[in-house]
Symmetry: C2
Subunit: 208 residues, 2 copies
């Protein structure tokens, strides 16, 4: 009898076996991520996330100091996904080629399109960008761009010249990402081919 009850409970709640959750932290972070995506970073509420994760509203406080720390965890994981996507995108292209740089830019934009909520969380104003883990992860992503640009201009290492050229390329791609997810291009009736746009203008920005 008791075994049958247990079994039913297990099936009903899927991840939940009993009083203990198993991995409540991961569950809450995933619920937070989904809500940030659904409602935006500012509409997210702790209560919502707990409801979605199927735990009491007090539970997250065993794992996070406060609401902000939950968002920080989501931003952090986002930074890693973002970095990994860029690293993967360049892998299929000749280092230092315009193709590689285009793939890098497109993967930045595609991340923004795929996860606009998390993208906003990562790149919007907050105290988050001052946390060392976030800065480090950002530096790592920027490093991928720096290396490609150094290779593009046929330099062995990242020098001042590569750094000066990298920032405008980041700026352009960053602007395009926001214009797309904030629906400004479409509101202004501007048709866009992201790939050609990124390729041509990266080329122009790196000219001289």
């Amino acid at each position: 009898l008791e075994i049958t009850e247990r079994h039913a409970q297990k099936n009903a709640l899927a991840k939940r076996v009993g009083y203990h959750h198993g991995d409540l932290r991961a569950g809450v972070v995933e619920a937070t991520r989904a809500l940030v995506e659904e409602k935006g970073p500012d509409r997210f509420s702790v209560s919502d996330a707990c409801r979605a994760a199927g735990v009491s509203t007090a539970a997250p406080y065993r794992h996070f100091h406060d609401r902000e720390e939950m968002l920080l965890a989501v931003a952090q994981e986002g930074m890693v996904r973002h970095h990994d996507a860029m690293a993967a995108a360049q892998r299929h292209h000749t280092p230092g080629s315009l193709d590689a740089l285009t793939a890098l830019g497109l993967s930045y934009i595609n991340f923004a399109k795929a996860e606009p909520g998390v993208f906003r969380l990562m790149f919007g104003l907050s105290q988050r960008e001052k946390k060392p883990q976030i800065v480090e992860q950002g530096m790592a992503s920027y490093g991928i761009l720096l290396a490609q640009i150094a290779a593009y201009s046929e330099r062995a290492e990242v020098d001042d010249c590569a750094m000066e050229h990298a920032f405008p390329v980041w700026t352009f791609v960053h602007g395009l990402a926001f214009l797309l997810i904030d629906e400004k291009a479409s509101a202004m009736n501007i048709q866009i081919d992201p790939e050609e746009l990124v390729r041509e203008n990266t080329r122009r920005l790196l000219s001289d």
Copy 2:
């Protein structure tokens, strides 16, 4: 006696003469703008604005349907200021010169720096960018850029070529504005000279 009372009251409340406000709508919009600037568009609350404007929380509902309409009014006025700043910036330069285009871009960025809250309100995702008044004002601002770019490439009118070149320039400047107000450039320890950055990269984006 009564006159003295009136006088004292007038001095104390400045804008407030008695039961009626005079221009409550403008007062509330200004309070809303200031709060959007101070706390950000998402932290703004109707109650805060009423407190700041010195009116009851019910008062704005004589002039606005709801909270969103108050933000819409602030966005709208922001669009006009933004447009006027760009129009003024180009006035001192030869039409179609790189100087004129640089001044245009810088005025875009300076608006973002001066009013980051309103800038976010104007360019963030919402249903607002679909309101005809907002779209129209946006088109007008974009038209200034289009005209300068047509003149830059020595064309008499705005043709497809000008439109194709304008979008990347907007994208670049827009991206720079966000990287600056979201403090990404400073968080990554990147030093910037906005004027040179805008001039050089506008030139590159318009090359070919």
